[in-house]
């Protein structure tokens, strides 16, 4: 083990095998998906994100949501995700083909968000939750995201964007809380997250065990 070419060749070959196995082969196996197109309605599954939801995914990344929330539903044999009602079936690689960056996540300090749009479709609920998480989820340790909102003095008619903030953090009389464009985009992204609410050929619905 005293010769540089021999050492370098060894370093190269050991590393190359893993690079081929874990980077190159997955690219050919799961890196070139096309959507499933319904022949009659021309609907695509998975559906594309709207422009606003796509911007919202950038806010999701910038705010570091993945450090507490995953976006993957494990099959019944690998975890209790389905039994918790986090999806109708496990998620598969094609479910993520519309994402620019995949937020699979490694932490569940908060619940899985793969299908949060199906569980909580209300825009108002999400504003409320981002503004003061503990009011809608008592005991939660999620931080408030008030920097995504604006407190404005009401002059004339209240803004159509403003939402009714529940106590204890409701603004004083004459003021309103309005979501910023970032908050709106983020919530559009969250309610668009319905990754495993429809079947795909490679992953039919699984009955959740009670």
């Amino acid at each position: 083990m005293n010769r540089m070419p021999l050492l370098m060749t060894g370093f190269f070959l050991t590393f190359l095998t893993a690079w081929l196995g874990l980077v190159a082969v997955p690219y050919f196996q799961i890196g070139r998906y096309q959507p499933e197109v319904d022949e009659i309605t021309k609907d695509q599954t998975p559906p594309p994100f709207s422009g606003q939801a796509d911007q919202g995914s950038a806010i999701y990344a910038a705010s570091g949501c993945i450090y507490c929330h995953s976006q993957q539903v494990r099959p019944t044999e690998a975890g209790a995700d389905l039994a918790r009602g986090w999806g109708a079936r496990r998620t598969v690689a094609r479910d993520y083909m519309r994402d620019r960056v995949a937020f699979f996540g490694t932490s569940r300090t908060g619940p899985d968000l793969s299908n949060i749009g199906a569980r909580q479709p209300s825009v108002e609920w999400h504003y409320q939750h981002l503004y003061q998480p503990q009011v809608v989820a008592p005991g939660s340790i999620m931080p408030p995201y008030r920097f995504l909102f604006e407190k404005r003095k009401i002059s004339g008619a209240p803004s159509s964007d403003a939402f009714k903030v529940l106590p204890p953090d409701a603004p004083e009389e004459g003021y309103e809380i309005v979501p910023s464009n970032e908050a709106k985009a983020l919530v559009q992204y969250l309610i668009a997250l319905k990754r495993s609410t429809y079947p795909l050929p490679e992953s039919p619905d699984e009955p959740a065990t009670p």
Binding site: M8, P26, G31, Q72, G79, R90, M142
Partner: protein, 501 residues
């Protein structure tokens, strides 16, 4: 530089130099002095910057951990929201501290083991400057909201390329250094260092290109992300940590490594199996089953390099455990080596599917990460810094008490953190796996333990402040000149006093 010596035998091999009975020639000493002289600037620069990022990273960690106890703490400014402070912490300590102190230590080890003075020292200064500018851009970028949310690769694209440039320069330097080494035996530490600096630029470049510059579909980003994430640990941090233990343990106790054959097996099995480990972070995820199974198998095979290295270190140490009482370096390094064995075996167990099912998304993983990167890697680096810096600045550590406090605060701190996060994670994971238990209950189970984690973080941060103080003092040649190295207690073996400590 050549100096005539009274007895001028053939150049000693490293094994000769490690043997206790070997008497140094004056020429040896002059060579070493010259090497240290040319390395002084770059190595101290790297270590100094690394300590700065360690302090900043600790502060970010404290902020993030308090946020989990008090969600409203510093929540109203976007720069300090949890989801930004946490990755800023990880990147500050992983790249700012960990990788950087590793570069400093590896530079010194490589030059000493190649037995040649530095060529192209300017390259090293440039590399340190560029690298730290990249880290600064990256950390500020994450706090400003440009982070990527791809774990271990959060630096925005504009910072990643600068970090890469800085790192590539120092890697080139390593290869040049090795190429022009003095002929003779190549020591095991040199394989590890050379390999680490060969693998890491490849890893970092590939992962960044495939995920950000020419992005592949998101499904492939998962495997690439964890191929990178785990290999950064296994093929960069770990080799530098092991290179240091292989060098420092024999040096301090003054006897050669127990078995050359074992070190060969340890090295090549690490190279081959560690590189395949990453997909165990994706167990149960939306990926092909073979991919995950391959990594589960490789995770089991990791027992081979880990046990081989542990045996080799243990039998090198046998009969010399008493030295732990007096040698600061040995205390940190042996603590680290033991943590390496424990955290690696734990890592293998976490790849078992039914274990992973419980621990996967919980604080248990965070505890494991700290045992590995802090209990093992960082503690070994502390030990290495305690060994190297006096040789560079021609001054001994001013206070044994500061070193003692640093050791106990960091050592107890990391074990306390490991235990509290592991217990928190087990409660959390078992609750999550029982659908009859509400989700919020899984959160409530962790709360008391998260407070304990914050406490342990305060201990470790205090240790870092003490360490930084020691470093500042030795740079300023504080205190009186000491004739002998600063030891924690007076050794009872007289031979020890003569040996290099």
């Amino acid at each position: 530089m050549s100096v005539a010596t009274v007895e001028s035998p053939a150049k000693p091999t490293l094994v000769d130099s490690l043997l206790p009975q070997h008497r140094e020639t004056i020429e040896d000493k002059v060579d070493r002095a010259e090497i240290d002289q040319t390395l002084r600037g770059p190595v101290l620069l790297y270590i100094g910057f690394a300590i700065f990022w360690l302090l900043l990273g600790s502060l970010l960690a404290l902020i993030a951990s308090v946020k989990l106890n008090v969600p409203g703490f510093l929540a109203d400014w976007s720069w300090l929201t949890f989801g930004r402070v946490r990755p800023a912490h990880l990147n500050a300590v992983a790249y700012g501290w960990g990788a950087q102190v590793g570069v400093g230590v590896a530079l010194w080890l490589m030059a000493r083991l190649c037995r040649v003075p530095v060529r192209h020292g300017g390259l090293l200064y440039a590399s340190a400057g560029i690298y730290n500018f990249g880290i600064l851009l990256g950390i500020v970028g994450i706090l400003a909201g440009h982070g990527t949310s791809v774990e271990w690769l959060e630096f925005p694209r504009y910072a990643a390329i600068v970090v890469f440039a800085g790192f590539a320069l120092v890697s080139i330097w390593m290869v040049i250094m090795f190429r022009f080494r003095k002929p003779g035996h190549v020591y095991v530490s040199q394989w590890y260092i050379l390999a680490a600096f060969f693998w890491f630029p490849w890893l970092y470049a590939t992962a960044n290109i495939v995920i950000f510059y020419l992005p592949v579909q998101a499904a492939v980003q998962g495997p690439v992300n964890w191929w990178y994430g785990h290999n950064a640990l296994g093929l960069f941090f770990t080799p530098i940590g092991i290179a240091s233990t292989y060098y420092l343990i024999p040096k301090v106790i003054g006897r050669p490594v127990y078995s050359y054959q074992l070190s060969i097996i340890g090295f090549w099995s690490l190279a081959f199996f560690y590189s395949w480990n990453g997909m165990h972070h994706l167990i149960g995820g939306p990926f092909p089953a073979w991919l995950i199974s391959a990594s589960v198998v490789a995770s089991f095979m990791m027992v081979i390099p880990v046990v081989t290295t542990a045996i080799n270190h243990h039998f090198t140490m046998v009969g010399h455990f008493g030295a732990l009482r007096w040698s600061p370096t040995l205390r940190f390094v042996v603590f680290g080596a033991v943590c390496y064995t424990i955290s690696s075996i734990q890592g293998t167990s976490m790849a078992i599917r039914w274990v992973n099912q419980v621990t996967h998304f919980t604080h248990y993983t965070i505890g494991h990460a700290h045992l590995g990167l802090y209990g093992f890697y960082t503690m070994v680096m502390f030990g290495a810094v305690y060994y190297i810096v006096p040789r560079l600045v021609d001054w001994e550590w001013p206070s044994a008490n500061l070193i003692r406090w640093h050791f106990w605060l960091s050592g107890i701190g990391v074990l306390f953190m490991f235990v509290s996060l592991s217990v928190a994670g087990l409660f959390q994971g078992l609750a999550l796996e029982d659908p009859k238990i509400s989700f919020i209950t899984s959160v409530n189970y962790t709360k008391a333990f998260l407070w304990m984690r914050s406490l342990s973080g305060i201990m470790m941060t205090a240790g870092h402040i003490i360490f930084a103080t020691s470093f500042a003092l030795i740079l300023r040649h504080a205190g009186a000149r000491r004739a002998r190295p600063t030891l924690l207690t007076q050794p009872d073996e007289p031979a020890v006093l003569a040996a290099a400590v």
